[in-house]
């Protein structure tokens, strides 16, 4: 007896016509791209990338069985080889499973478009916009793939005046730094002094949600319910970078997000980065850290030392730590996430003429969580993770080669053992083909049960004078190995995409 399943499809409420319209826009753009000759000397440049994926999944749903049909006693009993949960006095026991009845599929489609417009007779004046259209088809529709129910979003869009000593931007922009990726609707002013590679920038405006180009009060965050902010953040910050000598760079950033009442802070963070690369590029030393002024916690930290004889032969060592930093707009910060410290080594080798190898090993140790673990029914998990990886490429000919990798991880949270092998063949200078096989076993705590998933796939890429077309098809088979919740990964996946550009820059050959 199935007692629960998917919630009603929200996508059904949306208009099929709109989705079709978005798809038609992409197809029209493709058609325009194929049919448009080179437009030399135009004062604009555009890039359009369209891709359609096909994804299947068998969702995990709660199922039940009559208590008379199970064996054993206590809260965990068995129905055949399936572990079920029973409550004393209830007629049914429950378990999670996925089967052919729970199979859904969807075909999310995306059109990314970038547009640069320049040459207005004002030196350094430019307009830039980057947008994304989305839609989805299939039984899973817009419910299954993230955000396909939001048809369009503006990733970035600004006017820029860029001169030798300064740069001004107004519009939707973003900052990439050690603090992460933050977007804002506002402006920035940057000064630069090229001889010392000195840059100083002030930026600010209405802040966007982290990792999402929407305001905090947007409907896109409606699922936060009562925890969705009632007003938008204001975000502002200062960033400076300095490169006094060749190979030496340092940067710092301060950023604060506040509400209308400036005393109410969403986040206040500092980040530092520095790197040194020797003149012959053989040595690299780098370090970074970020500090959360709101909580008084250090976040990420990283120190790395690397030595390269060439791109084939190198050795790297690093120390790192990680602690997640949450906005004070969420309750997560009150749950005291702990940090981990770790170390890692990696080396690149070229043991034979046509072989390139990379080996990695690292370890993480979590700090004391101070959680109760020594009194029933509390229990302790582990606090250490080991991870090893090996990657190799064999390239006996320019036209073809083999690439393989293996990843082994064990410790807290989840463990994985995964291997991949890929064959690449360059049929013509413009047409490349690939085939791959893979298998992985992902098991243990908190995750899907111990099982093996096999993968076979092919892909191709064809490059024309103005566009690139690519596609891939992958099949997965899931062999279950134990009695944990059965999350069946047997499925087909596919992707088809095209990207092309229009326009050109004056004075250059496309």
């Amino acid at each position: 007896m199935r007692v629960s399943g998917l919630s009603p499809t929200r996508g059904q409420a949306r208009l099929l016509g709109w989705r079709t319209g978005v798809a038609c826009l992409g197809l029209a753009a493709i058609w325009g791209g194929w049919g448009t000759p080179d437009l030399h000397g135009q004062q604009w440049r555009a890039r359009v990338a369209t891709r359609i994926q096909y994804v299947e999944a068998r969702t995990l749903v709660l199922d039940s069985v009559a208590v008379e049909q199970v064996t054993g006693s206590g809260p965990q009993r068995r129905y055949g080889d399936i572990l079920v949960t029973c409550t004393t006095g209830e007629d049914f026991c429950y378990f999670y499973s996925s089967d052919s009845d729970s199979k859904i599929s969807t075909a999310p489609a995306f059109v990314d478009a970038d547009l640069n417009v320049f040459g207005f007779g004002v030196e350094g004046l430019r307009f830039y916009a980057s947008g994304r259209f989305r839609s989805a088809f299939g039984s899973g529709g817009e419910q299954f793939w993230p955000r396909t129910d939001e048809d369009f979003e503006l990733l970035a869009g600004y006017a820029e005046l860029n001169r030798r000593m300064f740069r001004v931007r107004l519009g939707r922009d973003y900052q990439v730094s050690g603090l992460g990726f933050y977007g804002y609707d506002g402006g920035s002013l940057l000064f630069r002094y090229r001889p010392a590679r000195l840059e100083a920038e002030a930026y600010g405006g209405w802040g966007l949600e982290r990792g999402l180009p929407v305001r905090l009060t947007s409907d896109a965050l409606g699922s936060l319910g009562e925890f969705q902010p009632q007003e938008d953040n204001y975000l502002f910050g200062f960033r400076g970078s300095f490169g006094p000598y060749k190979g030496v760079s340092a940067a710092a950033i301060y950023q604060r997000e506040i509400l209308t009442d400036p005393k109410v802070i969403s986040s206040e963070r500092l980040g530092f980065e520095a790197s040194y690369r020797s003149r012959d590029s053989r040595w690299l030393v780098e370090g970074s850290a970020d500090y959360d002024l709101a909580t008084g916690w250090w976040g990420k930290g990283n120190a790395k030392l690397g030595w390269w004889a060439s791109r084939l032969f190198y050795v790297e060592g690093r120390l790192f730590r990680y602690r997640p930093i949450f906005s004070l707009q969420t309750i997560w910060v009150a749950f005291s996430p702990v940090s981990y410290w770790g170390w890692g080594v990696a080396t690149g080798l070229g043991p034979y003429k046509d072989v390139q190898v990379r080996l990695e090993l690292d370890r993480r140790d979590y700090g004391d969580t101070e959680a109760d673990t020594d009194v029933e029914p509390f229990f302790a998990t582990t606090d250490r993770v080991w991870r090893g990886r090996a990657w190799a490429r064999w390239q006996p000919r320019v036209k073809w080669g083999l690439e393989g990798s293996y990843w082994l991880e064990w410790g807290v949270g989840s463990a994985v053992s995964a291997g991949n092998l890929k064959f690449n063949y360059l049929l013509t200078p413009d047409l490349s083909l690939g085939a791959r096989v893979g298998a992985f076993d992902q098991s243990w705590e908190f995750r899907i049960g111990d099982s093996m998933i096999w993968n076979v796939g092919v892909d191709a890429r064809w490059r024309t004078r103005i566009a690139t077309v690519w596609g891939a098809l992958d099949g997965y088979r899931h062999d279950r190995k134990d009695d944990a919740a059965f999350d069946d990964w047997t499925q087909l996946r596919a992707v088809l995409g095209i990207s092309y550009y229009l326009g050109s820059e004056p004075g250059r050959t496309p």
């Binding site: 965990q76 992460g180 970074s288 690397g306 004070l328 309750i331 891939a472």
Partner: protein, 291 residues
């Protein structure tokens, strides 16, 4: 044995990089790149050593033993043909000077991609990119290079790394282990609320208010023993559970009123920064949050 092997490898690696041509020394002879180089599908072509002997014949100039870059290095190294085509796909025109010449410097002041740009540099570029943004932009277009990965790219399961995707093939199937231990910070590009959670809930992995799930490790006691796991990987919890799920037990207003605060929790500091946060779980007149 290991030391001997390492020394041999180092010597071999060193020898591989000894075929560099001093462009600046020859600046007065060669004025453009395409006099000596061309980009072909197999890579960049180099002049024959016999060209050198036109001058380096022991009479006009000393004899040299220059043989050009090794074939192996060319195959494994940066593929110019691929990269130029990729840049053009992304709407960028490209010439040799774009990457190999410093602004305002002579035509033979040739720069090369740093040795740090291994096939795995995408995983490791954070510090260098943040500290040397301007330097990156001499070769990479910020708008297209950064947004391609960082702005919540929806094509998580990119078939083949070379297709301009950040994650390797099969990553969707494999991402839980990487996400749990935060190999990289997922939230730099993906918003957990709209990206991770929506998928997890739809597929039945996340909750929609239920607290009786048997997911995790199928241990019904998990709910009682989850404190350590939650503090170790709170971002993973948040990728399935909504905030209100946790407050069913962890609020001071109702429910089981289990205190979630743990190590390094500084109540007064948080209260001073944003008292609204405290009021999600505490009544306004709770003496613990009153100043």
């Amino acid at each position: 044995m290991v030391a001997v092997l390492a020394t041999a490898m180092a010597a071999w690696g060193w020898s591989m990089s000894q075929d560099k041509f001093d462009h600046q020394k020859h600046a007065s002879l060669f004025q453009s790149c395409d006099g000596c180089h061309a980009v072909e599908p197999e890579g960049v072509t180099f002049p024959q050593p016999s060209l050198c002997q036109g001058c380096h014949n022991g009479q006009i100039a000393r004899l040299v033993d220059w043989r050009g870059p090794s074939r192996v290095a060319n195959k494994f190294g940066f593929n110019h043909s691929e990269a130029i085509a990729a840049k053009r796909d992304m709407g960028e025109d490209v010439s040799c000077a774009d990457c190999h010449l410093a602004p305002g410097r002579g035509a033979m002041d040739v720069r090369r991609a740093p040795a740090s740009h291994t096939p795995f540099f995408a995983d490791e570029h954070r510090t260098l990119a943040a500290a040397s943004t301007a330097e990156c932009e001499t070769c990479h277009n910020r708008d297209q290079r950064c947004l391609g990965c960082h702005q919540g790219a929806e094509n998580l399961d990119v078939p083949g790394r070379e297709q301009a995707g950040y994650h390797p093939a099969n990553f969707l199937a494999l991402h839980s282990a990487a996400a749990w231990n935060r190999e990289v910070e997922c939230s730099s590009c993906h918003n957990p609320e709209t990206y991770c959670r929506s998928c997890h809930v739809t597929a039945g992995r996340g909750t929609e208010g239920r607290t009786n799930t048997g997911y995790h490790n199928e241990d019904p006691r998990f709910q009682f023993g989850h404190g350590q796991a939650a503090r170790q990987a709170l971002e993973s919890c948040a990728s399935c559970h909504a905030q209100q799920d946790c407050l069913a037990c962890h609020s001071a207003k109702y429910g089981r009123m289990v205190n979630p605060h743990g190590p390094d929790f500084d109540a007064s500091k948080l209260r001073d920064k944003n008292v609204t946060l405290c009021r999600y779980c505490h009544f306004p007149n709770d003496p613990r949050i009153e100043r």
